[in-house]
Amino acid sequence: MRVTQGTFSYLPDLDDDQVRAQVRYCLDKGWPVAIEYTDDPHPRNVYWEMWGLPLFDLKDPAGVMQEIAACREAFPDHYIRVNGYDRRLGRQTVGLSFIVNRPKHEPGFRLERSEGPDRRIRYTIRSYAAQRPSGERYSS
């Protein structure tokens, strides 16, 4: 099951030129770009690992593309996303976030129902991949 998180996630994966264009959009707006990765793509897991510090003071996407390439090389089977942070007062949040790398095989999530008092049903989703320890997930 394809994980859909962030902007453009219902589109086919972006190629490098498209990623570069999106990064350029962030930089033109003055948003520093950060690269993050994880192998636990649970929708409630919002804090992914940071790939180095956010890339401040860049003018051109070439530097970001270089870091994305390095991150992909280190974690070919992780989810990698690119965040553009809008620091303006009143916004102060991520302005654009999209996935640039995903594992080849995404087993998806299992929906668990558990019955509570008064026959109330509680739902939990559990990633099939995340049952293995971190680092071994998604690697076939």
Partner: protein, 317 residues
Amino acid sequence: MSEPETGPAAGEDGLVDLDAAYREAQVEPLFDDLERELIGLTPVKRRIREIAALLLVARLRQQLGLCAERPSLHMSFTGPPGTGKTTVALRMAMILHKMGFVRRGHLVVASRDDLVGQYVGHTAPKTREVLKKAMGGVLFIDEAYYLYRPENERDYGQEAIEMLLQAMENQREDLVVILAGYKERMEVFFQSNPGFHSRIAHHIDFPDYSLEELMAIAELMLRRQMYRFDDESRRAFGDYLERRIRQPHFANARSVRNALDRIRLRQAQRLVEQGGQIPPAELSRIDAKDVLRSRVFSEAPEHEPSYAGPASLRKES
């Protein structure tokens, strides 16, 4: 480019319109600015025009599919302090941007401190960060010879040099590097780092300014700040420059700027002490007295200042 494009480069008659390409690049206004705002420096301006012509032809060739190889654009600016190396680098970045050889056209100024770390493993990330910031623009390395310290073979500068060389070679699309510094020391630096010398296509030498040029620079600076000399103070300032040039640590246009700053200070002081009511024009007029109160006039020209501390601490007046 795999096949020749008949874009704007070649017309219907198959001829290449150089004038149109030149107009399209919109570099003429930049050259006009260069002529107007940079006084003297004739050889430098000529070299810049030559480089611009080379870039224009290279771009036309590219559009016609003649040769897709990008000309090497790394440069070295050598010359005494205060001769406008940074200013020209800024203009160069704009010209390269207009010509489409760098994507952004910004200038990142770096010196040894920005590139070289203090302990093992500190240099590479520092240099890489500066390189990333400069991507799409021009990296200007001031006093580049400080990167290389021959007396200390374990100096981390060598690591920065290697990374720079690698970036200059492999990321020619993303980055243009300009090295700057005094001529003699740059030559020594190039001799000990032949890799740099062979990767730099354009060596531009900045000459010292003549007295007339310095005078014209002073007038231009004052005009921009809405001050003016009267006849007497102009003569006094010419006299001042003549003495100042012979003193140590003369840094061409930078010394002129510092002298003008101090003259403005004295002018303000004189006006405040004088008090009373004055016509508004007095606020922008510089009196000969403001110039003549400089220390340069009180000292005999061949007399060295008795305090000989680090040059950076020494006042220049």
